[in-house]
Amino acid sequence: MLSRVAASFYWLSRYIERSDGILRMLKINYASSQDSVQGFSWEPVIRIFSGPDQELINRLKNDSRAVLKYLVIDKENANSILNIITLARENARSVQEHIPKDLWQCLNEYYHTVKEPRIAAGLKKDDPISILDVLIKQVMLYYGTAEITMERGQTRSFMNIGKYLERAIQSIDILDVKYGSINDNPNLLTDITYWKHLLQSIGGYELYQKTYRNGLEAENVIEQVVLNNDFPRSVIYSINNIQRYFDRLKNNSNVNDYREISFHIGKLQSNIKYSSVKSIGQVGLHQFLTHTKDDLYKIGSSLNEYYFANS
């Protein structure tokens, strides 16, 4: 398949996954902002999805509506849902003849939905959760449609590699930023709602309760988000899937290119697989997460070089 086509599928998929992550984060954090007695801060969320611009953070952090507007429909924000979906759609458009028509229509509808005036109006004055749900449903439609219409071949492999790479990076970012906040406010370490919201924002609260029955503890949260094989948003689950879908490219690859990347992925996978909460603690969580993220980026840039012909 064309290198450019492979790259477009990979990026399309990353953008969709990112939009899903942003929407779910916003939903839970908005709920949480309505819950907290003392002033709720959006700082970690803005940091994850828009970077460390302190001026921006200060301007937005205590204003839920402004954050929602900024992260969902702001044209100036390169990482707003609107811009991300536009990019996803441009990628899809450039490979339209490879995408099942149903899937293209899904994406197209997602794009047109974000642009509907009711979205902006709703974020401004109605119940934002209803609005975010409308958009989250669009992503789910997309995933469902992809699942049942995409041919089981190289395209799907590139899509899934992109999806899980993005997901792993997001879970790491969320964990890292949330833990970072504890340095500023040590009380959070024992604040149950804080952990509950973290887990909810990545859809892991129910699983946590089933797995650990003795209340919310920071160490258990780390274990679930990094090391739980059954948690679909855990780092290890995502990396296992990257490995799995990359493996399927083997027969359609140049042997040396394949080996090079396969080596990176395998090393990263083992590194996580043979870690424990304890060993992570020894390295330091932030260190560990930063290293893992660097390795993920390295996989991304090797794909770029060897498979997408952009060296």
């Binding site: 064309l2 290198s3 441009e90 229509q105 197209n108 359609n252 140049n254 997408f308």
Partner: protein, 487 residues
């Protein structure tokens, strides 16, 4: 019955051939079934259908993007829900005429790039050919597979006040719009359930498979599965939707210049597994941008070395390079002579009488009668650079005259033709609007095939004679009826 609502107020234009009505509100037989159908629909019903059509175009992404102040605004190509109907008899005539015309034009291209008998015999003046910027020396003595130069043609037809068909323009380079022919039909199926089979309308769905068959037959490597690609300038091109549609319908790879590379006079595409040889390129990139080593050196839309691979016969290019010399508006004047010269036949389809402004007598005549003339630049398309004499101010006319005098070769003049009208659903009622017709002809080693239909373009603005989409025109589904059901 709501019949009266739609049709009693339909005001025929004076002195204009209407596709639906003969005079005195006498309905032409082939429109009867559609009219019976529409009569049962209230204006609200029709408006709902109009809405549905818009929504379908939008959700399916059948749009083109207008880039304005850095922001892309997506628009749908305006679609009128009322079909335009062509009888089997009219179609048979059109088909014969186009085949004849294309056969001659194709022979002309071969001749012009080889022996140039037509020039030597004084049928086409030498200066017309040599002064044409689209006449490419690079094509001289170059043989193309099966001597086919024009693989895909869009011939623009209009009808005058008495219903006579005229050829307005031959499009022999990268004619576009065929995807709208296909999509308009799909939308019509959704809007008017059962109407198409009841009216016995011929299908247009064969187009992509005929095109694919032709492309495949051109492959220099005789193999069962040659690599065929559609070369597009990319997603910012206004016809990008069409490029993806065709690639999808044919199952061929849609590529951009940056996906291709030429090595040792062979074209390859860059894939995840390395380089893969390309055999046939259906290019939707203009000649000038195809190969920076030979043509425009600044172009990034094409591939360096492509012309060399083409010359060696290692890759087939569709349409052939250099076709512009045959659809130049100054060459157009000589097409009837070409038909007589190469085929020894009388032209079936007429040309619009055309004056060359480089000819002093013609020029004098045109300037005297400028109010009855349309003046066009020979090398512009899409309705750009035209002067409509009847609608222009004195100042505009004078300015245009100055321009003509500076470079008379680049202009032609034609009498204003009163394009035929067809009913359109506008503002909740049927109104006549001017139309033209672009059927698409496909030429391969086995001859010329024309899918029964085409793109009917509509001048949606009241009183306008310009149907080009770039000038605010729209389109209609175009029905060609089966012979058996003709009334």
């Amino acid at each position: 019955m709501h019949s009266s609502q739609h049709f009693e107020r339909y005001n025929l234009l004076n002195g204009v051939w209407d596709e639906m009505y003969a005079k005195n509100h006498l309905i032409r037989g082939h429109y009867q079934k559609v009219i019976d159908y529409l009569s049962q629909e209230s204006p609200e019903d029709l408006s709902r259908k109009e809405e549905l059509a818009k929504r379908l175009f939008m959700t399916q992404g059948i749009t083109f993007t207008v880039y304005n102040s850095g922001e892309g605004i997506e628009k749908i190509f305006p679609f009128d829900i009322i079909p335009r109907i062509i009888t089997a008899e009219e179609w048979a005539f059109i088909e014969r005429g186009i085949k004849q015309r294309l056969t001659a034009l194709n022979l002309f291209l071969k001749d012009i790039y080889h022996n140039q008998f037509i020039i030597k015999d004084g049928v086409v003046p030498i200066d017309i050919v040599y002064s044409c910027p689209h006449f490419l020396r690079e094509m001289y003595q170059l043989n193309v597979p099966y001597d086919v130069y024009v693989h895909i043609a869009g011939i623009d037809l209009i009808r005058d006040y008495d219903g006579t068909f005229y050829v307005l323009e031959d499009n022999l380079r990268t004619p576009s719009g065929v995807s709208y022919m296909l999509e308009n039909r799909e939308i019509t199926k959704r809007l008017f359930p059962d109407l198409l089979p009841n009216c016995n309308v011929r299908s247009v769905t064969e187009y992509p498979s005929i095109l694919y068959k032709n492309l495949m037959s051109l492959s220099p490597r005789q193999m069962s599965n040659p690599t065929i690609v559609l070369l597009s300038p990319g997603i910012y091109n206004s016809a990008y939707f069409e490029h993806t549609t065709l690639a999808r319908l044919m199952g061929v790879e849609l590529v951009e210049g940056r996906d291709l590379v030429v090595n040792n006079h062979t074209v390859y595409m860059k894939t995840t597994t390395g380089l893969q040889q390309v055999d046939v390129i259906y290019r939707r990139v203009d000649d000038d941008f195809l190969d920076p080593l030979v043509f425009n050196p600044n172009s990034v839309l094409g591939v360096a070395g492509l012309m060399g691979a083409y010359r060696k016969g290692n890759v087939a290019i569709v349409n052939a390079i250099g076709n512009g010399v045959a659809d130049d508006k100054a060459t157009y004047i000589y097409v009837p002579d070409m038909i007589k010269y190469y085929l020894n036949e009388e032209p079936i389809l007429k040309n619009v009488p055309t004056h060359r402004l480089s000819n002093a007598d013609d020029r004098e005549y045109v300037f005297k009668n400028i109010n009855k003339m349309v003046i066009k630049k020979t090398n512009e398309s899409g309705g750009y650079g035209m002067l409509m004499g009847h609608a222009a101010s004195d100042e505009e006319i004078n300015k245009y005259k100055q321009e003509i005098l500076k470079d008379p070769r680049s202009f032609i003049a034609q009498p204003t033709i009163s394009l035929s009208s067809a009913p359109c659903y506008i503002g909740g009622e049927l109104q006549p609007r001017r139309i033209d017709l672009r059927p698409y002809a496909l030429c391969g080693p086995d001859g010329i095939e024309i899918v029964p239909g085409g793109l009917t373009r509509v001048a949606l603005t009241e009183g306008s004679l310009v149907v080009n989409s770039s000038q605010g025109g729209g389109s209609k589904d175009t029905w060609v009826l089966n012979p058996t059901t003709d009334q």
